[in-house]
Amino acid sequence: MAKTREEKLYVASQWRLMWWKFLDHRLAVVSLFSLCVLYTVALTCEFISPHAPNQRDASRSFAPPQRIRWIHEGRLQRPFVYPQIQSFDEETGKIGYTENIHHRLSLRLFPRGDAYRMWGVFPMERHLFGLGPQDRIMILGGDRLGRDLFSRIVTGSRISLSIGLMGVTISLLLGTLIGGISGYVGGWVDTLIQRLIEILMSFPTIPLWLALAAAMPPHWSQIRVYFCMTLILASIQWTGLARVVRGKILSLREEDYALAARVAGVKEFRILTRHLIPGFMSHLIVTATIAIPGMILAETSLSFLRLGLRPPTISWGVLLQDSMNLSAINLYPWLLWPGAFVITTVLLFNFLGDGLRDAADPYHH
């Protein structure tokens, strides 16, 4: 016998209620889906990018984005691009590009291209799309050294997108642990931790990040700088989470169900892990999600100032370093494309955070 909607509501678990409420928030669902797509791209970036991100080509220096076309000489064709021809203007001394509209380069799915190792392990040479091994497609244009900007953005997404998640995970762990100890143990430990958090919070964020980032020696390896960056970003974020955890533990341990568990003879530690922490987990996840965009923006800004990640590491902030001078953006506006990706990602996270915040409180209408 099919249950009515009413009945389902009464027997549903808390997480199920949240999920239903989240599904009502259409923008947040779309954002979650788009973010999943973005993260999939970041995970398989070697395959998605049509070229190796560091492959130089002097004949395509600052090449403008190539348009993908459908119509050749008035007839509908499978998608193709016209090849770009470099020309040198003797009078102005500038390099320009023209399209050879008599020659067609068809877009292919899964062509052979630059060889790479998927996740650094499996040797492969197929890419998602491209023109074949001889020709190079640049749908978002090229940079000064003639490297394909789209491939570089896709490769950079792996670092830019993961740094936010990593940072939030670290601050979530730190926050839960330290906030948990503070709220659970209480007494002078609690006072000490709270004073410490107050002091950390009174440090102005950006100068502190700058100071810590400037303290990283230039000879460090890429991996080491990357991990230090996540630690630096997490170093401030955890304080807010720790406060949330402590406050929640203090209020939840007075609830009837905690008392009931205590009367029934459950050990204190088990009450904490089995009854109290799940009680505010949803709240914690929301707070963490809202913190991610700030971290992505911070990474971008620090790398842009040449204080964070440095070339040859590829991240969106590092790519934006090329657009630092004004004449470059005026002549080659496509260098701002990495910025568009940053904005989109941050927007999606903000929408998702809004939806999650509403969903985290499923009993409130």
Partner: protein, 320 residues
């Protein structure tokens, strides 16, 4: 507050000391890059003069004793007292911060009120969307795009705070007018992020207030819609705006470093960045200490201001 400030001063000093080596090692490296060699004896005498040969704790003690007497020490790289360096850039930084806050309030409060009273209308969605975009865009990108537009589309010269001819000129009316022509770019760029956030806060708070029974009562007793709105709910809704005053003070000094770098503004931000990169110990340390102190004082000030504006907070305190 005093112990907090003490711990802050120790931590700032430690952060400054974090990078391996000191100012002199980077100074020697710079000399070697240009082909010169540093005389061992000169380096040693410099090290002794700056007290760099002593352990951290002693260096900290010398520095903090000076700070208490109002002497922040010498900047190594510019060979001038730290106090003068910070002081001469503080005026313009203060002007920019003040204008930015003013801009944020003047734009965000009316739009927030409008959005809340026209909830779910097309204009409300438009402002909400713009607000989200404003929050998601890194400020240096807004700066780059705006400067590019101003320079290449409208033909204005907007970098920095003054035109070249007025750079070192004494203050005159013309120089002040020149400043006004340049100052709007950093003010708009710095204001956009904060404005976007504040519109959302004001809108959400006002919507909460508009549902309250007292609003219905006031409306039922025949108060005009405009007076009703401005007299009660708006007053409550803009409370969080007051706390932005707390950011004003630290903002004076940090001067939004990233934007200042892109726009090449003569504010304190780039100076702090330079000090950090060159390990100019006393300059950087004094900056971080000053910033943290101002954050603490700013928070205190906004609390006091909030209590002054909002009678409910005053009563709550009294009943405790």
């Amino acid at each position: 507050m005093i112990p907090t400030l003490f711990v802050i001063s120790v931590i700032s000093f430690c952060i400054i000391q974090l990078p391996p080596g000191d100012y002199l090692t980077s100074y020697i490296a710079n000399l070697q890059e240009t082909g010169e060699t540093a005389d061992e004896a000169v380096v040693e005498s410099l090290r002794a003069r700056y007290g760099l040969d002593k352990p951290w704790s002693v260096q900290y003690w010398i520095w903090i004793c000076g700070v208490l007497r109002g002497d922040f020490g010498q900047s190594f790289s510019m060979n001038r007292p730290v106090k003068d360096l910070i002081w001469e850039r503080l005026g313009l930084t203060a002007a920019i911060s003040f204008c930015t806050i003013l801009f944020t309030w003047c734009v965000a409060i009316p739009i927030g009120i409008y959005s809340a009273t026209h909830q779910y209308k097309a204009s409300d969605y438009l402002f909400t969307f713009l607000g989200f975009i404003g929050m998601a865009t890194p400020s240096f990108m807004i700066a780059l795009v705006l400067m590019n537009l101003a320079q290449n589309q409208w033909g204005w010269n907007v970098g920095g705070l003054f035109s070249e001819s007025y750079m070192d000129a004494p203050w005159t009316w013309d120089k002040a007018r020149d400043l006004l022509q340049h100052i709007w770019v950093p003010v708009v760029v710095l204001g956009i992020g904060g404005t976007a956030g504040m519109i959302r806060t004001v809108r959400a708070n006002l919507l909460d207030q508009l549902e309250m029974p007292y609003v219905v009562t006031a409306r039922a007793s025949g108060l005009s819609e405009r007076r009703l709105l401005l007299k009660y709910p708006v007053r409550v809704a803009i409370n969080p705006v007051i706390s932005t005053v707390g950011w004003l003070l630290p903002g004076l000094v940090s001067g939004s470093i990233i934007v200042a770098m892109v726009l090449s503004l003569p504010t304190t931000g780039p100076l702090l960045l330079k000090a950090l990169m060159e390990q100019d110990m006393y300059l950087a340390g004094s900056f971080v200490l000053l910033l943290s102190t101002l954050t603490v004082i700013g928070t205190l000030l906004s609390d006091i201001l909030l209590a002054w504006v909002d009678p409910r907070i005053r009563f709550e305190r009294r009943s405790d």
